[in-house]
Amino acid sequence: MYHDNDRSKMFSRRALVLGGGKALLMGALAARMYYLQVMEANKYAMLAEDNRVSTRLLAPPRGLILDRNGIAMAVNQHNYRAMVVAERTPSLDYTLDALSRIITIGDGERARVHKEARRRRSFVPISVRENLTWEEVARVEVNAADLPGVIIDVGQSRHYPLESLGAHILGYVSAVSENELTDDPLEELPGFRIGKGGVERIYDMAMRGRHGTSSVEVNAVGRVIRELERKEGEPGVDLNLTLDVKLQEYAAQRLGDESAAVVVMDIHTGDVIVMASTPSFDPNAFNRGLTSEEWKDLSTNPRSPLSNKAIAGQFAPGSTFKLVTALAALESRDITPEMRVFCSGHTQMGSIKFHCWKKEGHGAQDMISGIKNSCDVYFYEVARRTGFEKIAEMARRFGMGGPTGVDLPNERPGNIPDKAWKKKALKQPWHPGETLINAIGQGYVTTTPIQLAVMTARIANGGFGVVPHVARDTIVDKSVKSRTNPQWPNLNVSRQSLALVRKGMFAVSNEPGGTAYKARITQEGMWLSGKTGSAQVRRITMRERETGVKKNDQLPWKERDHALFVAYAPEENPRYSIAVVVEHGGGGSAVAAPIARDIMIEVQKRDLARVAEAKDDATDLRRF
């Protein structure tokens, strides 16, 4: 028995030792708990919060683009897209494989996702497919459990309801490319689009708006459980244009299949009411993504649908330039308006013979009849007496030889040559004969349709340097401000000279024998005054002159003359100016003038309609 007693004592002793050891270990557990939960608690609380909360950017809706009457030209549409968050996937390929069993994913899209995943931070969702159909959205949602890291997101995509109408002015939106990145956090957003052309580009910053943020609770696989906090951003500013889409539509229709451009502007305010360039394109196709074939068609078409010819087409102005030549000569007093020049169909300068467009000649011409008949020989003489330097200076005063400053990207300057220019560009001296050729808008002189419209506006408004614009408002510090009533600079051209030129233009359109008499407006109060132009694009050889100059319809399209017409209306109290250029269209009087007439009738009708509407509103108010 004592034997067992001993064992019992030893057992108790040893139990104390082991029990003490256990107590020590439990003390260690408690100490560890204290360390983790009290000493390091803040650090881990932060990490837990990091786990739980994910902050997402909210894209503000892009500002709409409206025409002058509030008709929507660019709107936003819901765009359902499948996105993938790289850090929530077991591997990007695994998730893409799983997703491709549900919706189609092309190799190109796959490569793009991988590329973007490398560029962006791993928690930023990357768009896999855009514009999902309802059925596709449903299929992805149903299979959500098998698609770790995939989320369906409702984005907004730009839509241009009028399609090709006004496409050149609107421009288009597309993904940010690397060299366009700024510090705007919105650019981090997947599928974020910025304006890439037209007013979409010029007014991009204001139309983007400011981003909002949304803090959401996410679980371990990245699924959003609930929203914790939401800070709405500021929606983009709506942009009101000065364009009138109804007139725009009419103009585009009237130009038809021609490669042509029309600009109609308000001569006092600078509002561009119509700016059409044909053929056009559908900007929605850019948003959707062009197929390589569509792109090839657009980019290789000889009538260049992608280019806005109204501001980027540089054409020889032809006889429309004679208005500037006339002004330069009158202002410099190198000629008097009464001075007569006899046109026999040609004139001689040194050994070179310069032809008038009318082989038989116009007989004796003064300033008014010179403009009315567009007599080349008369203007050869005027130019010879004035010198091209003064003509070039006057051309620049009237908006040529440099961008007009219209609020559109990629405006081309055209060209107004002078001695210095020729020396620099061609390393040749100026030939006296070139003064004659350039004074009638041939040779080195090129202008854009909008420059011609501006020139005409400045003649019609009494010599004020009106600058055109397509947006009714202007941008100050990323936000849109109303344009204040503009005070255009005085161009310092005498009233008499302008009145004389306008009288010539009146004769062109309204006196029998005027080059545009057949395209006159007969409606009372809508009469227009204009100037035709036919710019030759090929050289007429001596032999051809002997055998008879070929008619335009005998020539291949590329060799035909450009048809031009500039005008303002209404005659008594001018309000609008117009420039029509039909590339390789033939004669100005036959092709361009009728187009201008028809458009100007519509423009003035709309004007009258607006006045009537305003009256109606007034009567309505009185009635109540």
Partner: protein, 387 residues
Amino acid sequence: MLRPMPRMPSRLNRTEMSVRDKIWQINWSLIAVLSAIACVGFATLYSAAQGSLDPWAMKQMVRFAIGISIMIGIALVDLRFWMRNAYIMYVIAFILLVAVELRGTIGMGAQRWIDLGFIQLQPSEIMKIALILALARYFHGAGFQEIGRPLFLIPPLIMVFAPAILVLKQPDLGTAMMLVLSSGALFFMAGVRVWKFVLVIAGGLAAIPLAWQFLREYQKKRVLIFLDPENDPLGAGYHITQSKIALGSGGMFGKGYMMGTQSRLNFLPEKQTDFIFTMFAEEWGMMGGLVLLGLYALLLAFGYAIAMRCRSQFGRLVAHGITTTFFLYFFINTAMVMGLVPVVGVPLPLISYGGTAMLSLLAGWGLVMSAYIHRDVPISRRGMGEE
């Protein structure tokens, strides 16, 4: 006439006890502590299911009820019966272990259980209890001289290492470790000299490089990641990192019941089984953790008190052995989720969702209680009454 005075003048000091006597002796406060711990488990499982009895809490309650009944049943069986049958149970457990090993190699992968239909029986869990019984029986009759002989220690060592190696091969590092550690404690309690332990531990340390080669790739990885969890925050270190975040963010008083973000949002892996302590401590904070630790400590104290009051060496060794096994369960589990030891698959006793561990642990406590009820019953070397 002088009769020898009984050492414990008690009516329990009898070779035979009636069932009624035994029922009177059931230690209800021990059952209360076990139930309190189990209730912590139910509440946590209810929260893990986002406030639902399904799929875990209800099943766990049923199992606990069954387990408590089994425990009382075992407690009422004469301790000598368990001693007499200790070796047989050990042999059966061993055969079952070999069976799963064979089936595991023939069948697919590491299957550690035998499906009995109503329960998936894990032989390694049975072995934890059977080994303690067998060793207790072996050392029960041993005097100091015998224990002092090195040769006497060979059979129990084989009894320990044979199943330990089998379990390690499954591979189940946690269970193997528990078998060896709890047996070690039993050897110590039986009176094996301290220097022998020093010798074995030194030998064991020397054998670590050798043992390293036996570890599976994922086990090696776990050890390495334990040493530096930040190394692999999204891979194998993810579990432990997220567990520490959950614990730490719980702070002193916790995020509130059913409001643990880490567990709710599934950042915490295995929140209903191995990482349930983390979830509990996230929601209840350090205070909750300490209360739970206190409950476990109370249970240990009961185990020790019972072990010390036992008159028989067998009862003492069994009570202490089971208590130690229980301690190892919760120590390894909590130390693991707190990043103190490598990640091994050891559940938190009575709380983690799982049937086998719950039943085998309660069966073990049944044996402890049996030792308590029969604390004054003298047991002969062969497991009979007083010789």
